[in-house]
Amino acid sequence: MFARGIKRKCFDGEEDIEGTLAGFKSVPSYNLQRQSLLDMSLVKLQLCHMLVEPNLCRSVLIANTVRQIQEEMTQDGTWQVINAQNTGQASLDRLVSSDILCRSTKEQNEGKLVPSYSGFSKDFENTPSQDIISDLSTVTSVQAPRNPQSNNVWEMENSQENRGNFQKSLDQIFETLENKNPNSVEDLFSDVDNSYYDLDTVLTGMMNNTKMGHCDVLESFSSQTTTNSNSNCKSDINELDHIVEILVES
């Protein structure tokens, strides 16, 4: 009846999540639910099959859900950090298994531990969404001053680049959603713009992104595009116009 292929059962009511936790059998916490929902949403966004144009309404709703979770996580200050080996040779397969536990203020008050979610990610197929998830996971909580009680242990140096990376990936998703206009004339004759599946694009994205001055991920989320893509768009539109003229006249 429900979709197959995802072993993890979704929590409806009180059900234990079996087996995949690293030894933790607990009632699924709110953070856990939220995190797995975030993962699911990102997978959904990525898996738009490319032959028929993806449904814009659905994509927008999923993206809004992702944003909402982002907002909440930022406010809570509970960015889960995974010690990803985020070098240039970050492998596409498994998320790095991490034993990093992150305590949020909420959990601290209740005395619970929020287990890492790496186990869940192992269930995922080898999709390129892993890039995004791993990037997401490396974003740190910079809310330490706001949350003196949180024990966010790990701070990544390239945290800001990763945040920008996430935004850039979401940008790419929207770009694909909006139109399939390729960025160069040659791509006009190639099949599908698969650029965001490429690891290279993701990594170059990391370097292209300007440093975000703000700590708030949300702001970087909704900020303007970088000047890069702006100028790209304009030249693209001119080229496209030219091409359309040719095609229509013929």
């Binding site: 009846m1 939220r34 709703l61 993206a63 809004n64 599908v192």
Partner: protein, 602 residues
């Protein structure tokens, strides 16, 4: 179809009511039709060729040039604002406005489908695969579809919604086997204004029209049943070469035009193109040509010895469908709604981000009246999900969004209706807040009542009825399947949470109906506040079997005859329903079958 010729002469527009007069203060939306100019001024060379010499009172003739094209066409006022899209036609040089990508037009030849009356009747009785294209809509003979006198089914327990109407099975159309061909999935259902015709569109781009048989004196205990009247291929799959994407041929919406002459007109749309179809009957044909044989071959004129006048002779009824207008290349995103204005001359088409206003006779130009596309696509958070014209005011329309808001706009306020006149939004219930609150608040359908005072919106879990005079909350809210609220995460996982259910009013605006899962559909009586859940399944195939009300139990204890939430089949969903405008006849579309139910007539 391009060029001014046949469209300008088409008399359809002339038969329809005029636009109501606008107050002087507001700018006129359209100029009145330009008077027809007489064409045919000849040049001097032609007059010298073989004309009679001018008489004594003839005035000197001016040298005039023959016009290349007749100018007698209704024109939109020339507009240079960004709201007017002048669509490029092939080969035209002027391209002032936004250019849309050219999309290959479907050839016109295949679009005619002739179906003789004899074949039509056979269609309803047995599954006769006529040609490769014909949908297997007939199915095996359903003996129950002919009502037998005297059989009585057991009365369903409990009174139903709608003034204690008891709903009976009447007919089912479509293939029996469970293996659903993708092209047979029904995607829209619509009664025409009289209720005599019922149109369905499917994922394969076909439109099938059913006609209600005239009621017989002998069968007073049933209303006429619906049989296939016409079938045609409305849209073909296309390929957008610039984007390298396929354009689906699935019919998203069908809307009937009110009948003005013997022919019927409907608008059908897929994701990108809207077509105006004319469905006409032919029951006479001319016979007795002098120069042509009966089979069409030409006769040798020397063999003609006598002359006769061709006469019309009756023939088997033929129903022809022909595309009269094709409105293409105006939408970048997927069209989700079309709605005909109450002036019967214009209509709107809405896609995810824009709404365009068309004139039914003009295919190369449309006005953009709503545009919510942000300058930066990354800031996109809201899309248009449905739009409809007010049934009485020709200047008012509403559109709903994915955030659960409905905006009412007045076209007299400005050319581009970016600012709404009214905003209908219910504040969120904080106790029910979850991650999915926004998704389930997304409105999938909006319908005005026939009176025009109320409008109904359908979001994922409920149906809300709004009074147009009150913006801050709906006047009535009906929960369709509240038991799914705890299952939202699973429904999000399997994408069912994005299903777009439609809703409909009955003819008197007293009952509303919408679909659900497991082939259930629900009706809510606004007066008695009672509701009923019924199932569209082949198990109740007997004629005039009264449908038994169903119940879904949410919590643990399951009573007899109840269905638990976990055993619902989420692949069997009823998204499209329609209610006859005058009688208690409903058409309910499951995945690939069309069920027709009537109320019990004693």
């Amino acid at each position: 179809m391009r060029g001014p010729g046949p469209e300008a002469r088409m008399g359809v527009g002339g038969c329809w009511p005029r636009l109501p007069a606008l107050p002087l203060s507001s700018p006129p939306l359209y100029r009145p039709r330009a008077p027809r100019e007489v064409v045919g001024h000849f040049t001097e060379e032609e007059t010298e060729a073989g004309e009679r010499p001018p008489g004594p009172f003839a005035l000197p003739r001016k040298k005039l040039r023959r016009r290349k094209r007749p100018r007698a066409r209704a024109r939109w006022p020339a507009c240079t604002s960004r709201s007017c899209i002048a669509l490029p036609s092939r080969g035209s040089r002027s391209r002032r406005h936004a250019v849309r990508e050219p999309i290959a037009r479907p050839p016109a030849a295949h679009s005619r489908r002739l179906l003789s009356a004899r074949r039509r009747r056979a269609w309803g009785a047995a599954a006769a695969p006529e040609a490769g294209r014909e949908p297997a809509r007939a199915g095996p003979a359903v003996p129950g579809s002919r009502c037998r006198g005297g059989s009585r089914a057991s009365v369903g327990e409990g009174a139903g919604g709608g003034n204690d109407i008891q709903w009976c099975f009447s007919q089912v159309k479509g293939a029996v086997d469970d293996d659903v061909a993708e092209a047979d999935i029904i995607s829209t259902v619509e009664f025409n204004h009289s209720g005599e015709l019922l149109a369905t569109g499917d994922k394969g781009g076909r439109v099938v029209i059913f006609q209600q048989e005239q009621e017989n004196k002998t069968q007073t205990h049933s209303r006429g049943e619906y049989n296939v009247y016409s079938t045609f291929q409305s849209h073909e799959p296309e390929f957008d070469y610039l984007k390298s994407l396929e354009i689906e041929e699935k019919i998203n919406k069908i809307r009937w035009l009110p009948q003005k002459n013997a022919a019927q007109f409907l608008l059908s749309t897929n994701d990108k193109t809207i077509k105006l179809w004319k469905i006409s009957e032919r029951d006479k044909r001319p016979e007795g040509y002098n120069l042509k044989e009966e089979d069409g071959r030409y006769r040798d004129p020397t063999t003609v010895t006598t002359l006769r006048v061709p006469v019309f002779r009756p023939m088997d009824l033929m129903v022809e469908a022909s595309p009269r207008r094709i409105f293409a290349n105006a939408h970048t995103y997927h069209i989700n709604s079309i709605s005909i204005n109450s002036d019967y001359e214009t209509y709107l088409s809405a896609d995810d981000l824009r709404i365009n206003l068309w004139h039914l006779e003009i295919t190369d130009r449309s006005f953009n009246i709503v545009d919510i596309k942000p300058a930066n696509m990354e800031e996109l958070t809201e899309v248009i999900t449905a739009a409809e014209f007010h049934p009485n005011s020709c200047n008012t329309f509403v559109y709903s969004s994915s955030k659960g808001t409905i905006r009412l706009c007045d076209m007299r306020a400005s050319a581009l209706c970016d600012r709404h006149s009214k905003l209908f939004e219910e504040p969120e219930d904080p106790s029910n807040r979850s991650f999915f609150s926004e998704i389930i608040s997304s409105i999938s359908d909006v319908k005005f009542s026939h009176s025009g005072r109320y409008m109904m919106t359908r979001d994922y879990l409920s149906v809300k009825i709004w009074d147009l005079n009150m913006e801050n909350r709906p006047v009535e809210t009906y929960q369709v399947h509240e038991y799914l609220r705890s299952k939202l995460c699973s429904l999000y996982e399997n994408d069912c949470i994005f299903d777009k259910f439609e809703c409909c009013w009955n003819g008197s605006d007293s009952v509303v109906m919408t679909g659900s899962y497991n082939n259930f559909f629900r009706m809510f009586d606004r007066n008695t506040k009672r509701d009923i859940t019924l199932e569209a399944s082949r198990e109740n195939n007997k004629p005039r079997t009264v449908l038994k009300p169903r119940k879904v139990c949410a919590s643990g204890k399951r009573k007899k005859d109840e269905i638990s939430v976990d055993s619902l089949d989420f692949n069997k969903k009823i998204l499209h329903t329609a209610w006859h405008p005058k009688e208690n006849i409903i058409a309910v579309a499951t995945t690939n079958n069309l069920y027709i139910f009537q109320d019990k007539v004693n």
